[in-house]
């Protein structure tokens, strides 16, 4: 496999001001994104789990405190000018807030024409317009309804799709989408996620879909990483992880989603949960204090990453009979694509 982007045992610690030890935002995570096989990879976790930190590291917006990010085999920090330019071309971002990313004084056209100019992708104005119109149509927008408008004249859903179109313009290999639908209405969510899925299926672009919403991740992605307090809890094919979650945190996450069904057991499950008697420690598993199946050993040392199936990894001591994955080598288990 040729990896487009690899994270090798990356961690990120933010200096903590007066608290000397700082805050661990991401702990020793490895994964590889295939350059040849486009797919959607979901990164799911609650706020503070490190999912946005992972996105920023992969985009080169932040430098890892440990480990390295590689782009086509080379350390991101060591790229020369041309390498950096190729990276900026291949890896694009879509952000959470479709209101904050626009400069209100410019027409939408400006935002779409800038990348074309920067990367000299269009020979003439007419050609630029052709490319832009094509990208807008690919995300389900009518160019005549969008071009020439100011951001405030567009709805939130339209703005977010324009951002997806902007990312698409450069024909990137990977789009990192950080909570792209958390600020749009439920009815529009499906349309935007559908256009992301189309980018993968029809334009061969991989997508790292960062979200707190396990249900939409299940709907559109192929594989999934579940993060909990900076640590990888579980990774694998999305059907397996959602239908049969193995890590107790993933199990909690799946059960906590309220379902539109006749059986009303959602609130009762909450009352069933209680303290487990395990004293958490900084040295042990980060989920031990909330874990319904925690053992004394969980507080002693962090769990390894166990390979419970050919393409599945779980960081939980319950699975310690399975082979341990090396932290520094994603191997084929976390080679996603």
């Amino acid at each position: 496999m040729v990896a487009l982007i690899e994270a090798i045992d990356v961690s990120k610690r933010f200096a903590g001001g007066l608290r000397r030890e700082g805050t661990l935002a991401l702990a020793g995570l490895s994964l590889a994104i295939d350059a040849e096989k486009p797919s959607i990879i979901a990164v799911v976790g609650e706020s503070g789990s490190g999912k946005t930190t992972l996105a920023r590291l992969l985009l080169g917006f932040a430098e890892p405190s440990g480990g390295e990010i590689r782009y086509r085999g080379a350390d991101l920090r060591a790229l020369d000018r041309d390498g950096r330019r190729a990276f900026r071309h291949d890896v694009q971002a879509v952000f959470q807030d479709p209101y904050g990313v626009y400069n209100p004084f410019y027409r939408v056209d400006h935002l779409l024409a800038t990348p074309l100019r920067r990367f000299r992708l269009a020979g003439s104005r007419a050609e630029a317009r052709e490319v832009i119109s094509g990208a807008l149509r690919a995300v389900g927008l009518q160019p005549e309804e969008i071009l020439g408008r100011f951001p405030h004249q567009l709805s939130g859903g339209q703005r977010q799709r324009v951002m997806v179109a902007r990312a698409l313009l450069l024909k990137p290999k990977l789009i990192v989408a950080d909570e792209p639908v958390s600020m749009v209405d439920a009815s529009l969510r499906a349309t935007i996620l559908g256009s992301l899925r189309k980018l993968t299926d029809e334009h061969g672009i991989s997508i790292l879909y960062i979200t707190h919403d396990l249900a939409t991740a299940y709907q559109i992605s192929d594989s999934i990483l579940v993060l909990y307090r900076a640590h990888l809890a579980e990774a694998g094919a999305v059907e397996q992880v959602v239908a049969d979650p193995q890590h107790p945190y993933t199990q909690l996450l799946v059960s906590a989603i309220p379902r539109a069904k006749a059986a009303r057991d959602w609130l009762e499950q909450e009352e069933a949960a209680g303290p487990n008697g395990v004293t958490p420690s900084a040295a042990g598993c980060c989920f031990a204090e909330r874990c319904p199946v925690a053992m004394p050993a969980c507080a002693a040392a962090p769990p390894g990453l166990y390979r419970t199936a050919p393409r599945r990894a779980v960081a939980c001591l319950q699975y310690q009979d399975h082979p341990v994955l090396s932290r520094g080598d994603p191997g084929e288990v976390l080679s996603l694509g």
Partner: protein, 317 residues
Amino acid sequence: MSEPILQVEGLRVGFDHPQGLVQAVDNVSFALAPGERFGLAGESGSGKSTLALAILRMIKPPGWIASGEVWLAGRRLADLDENGIRALRLADIALVPQGSMNSLNPVLRIGRQIADAFVDHGLHLGRGEEARRIAALLTEVGLSEGVARMYPHELSGGMKQRACIAIAISLRPKVIIADEPTSALDVVVQRQVMATLARVQQDLGAAVILIGHDMGLMAQFVDRLGVMYAGRLVEVAPIAEMISKPRHPYTRALIAALPSLERRGTLAGIPGLAPLLRELPLGCPFHPRCAHATNRCHIEKPMVRDIAGAQVACHLA
């Protein structure tokens, strides 16, 4: 149904807009039984929050209540003057507004902010009695008594939301209106907060109006659901019936828009956009987005009809 605790009759709220009148709430009627959990669902802009504010007579210019009546425990709210309605807010009917966890005063301790409610409603408690009541309220919402001495920045989102619920129940209201109380929280914390709300509501015997757009949350929490579209209640039914047999095409679309955890690739949106309230289409306001719309839907606005215990505003139901 026993005597309703809250009754809303033909409520209309208008807003002045440079391009004409906007009818944000249009002829809404419903009643709430004591202890009932009632949900209000719909897309953003459908008038859910405006309806909540109108019930509390908190609509500010350029908006105004155009017509309609609200009765709380048999009292007609229109008969109360501004002081009367101020006394009634929080004490009889409490609102947990949208984003309320971010409206806590950052420079006051939580206990002080709860005590404000007592002071504002003329309860002059001794210092010991006040501290005892605050501790009891915090315990009731699952927080430790020590939270009273903490500042909002020391609390997590879920803890802040519980503190807001503690303020809402401080004067033991008969009705609690919770406007998207968990929209900013993670699913695990959401369930904890909703379980807390369910418990305090049962302890008080209060009725709850839950405003939101998550049909999954509605299905698991409320007893009866009202679906709003373009300022109107288009369907009201017991929740089990609403989920298993939705009658209005918009309700069906809202349920279908909920991502399933059973089958992949089934994510469906609601076609089209919510209409602008100042340019509502003729006939049924949902007809441009409705797959089943007939000629009649284009010209005649459907009235609310009773169908086997449910109220539906659709020609085709």
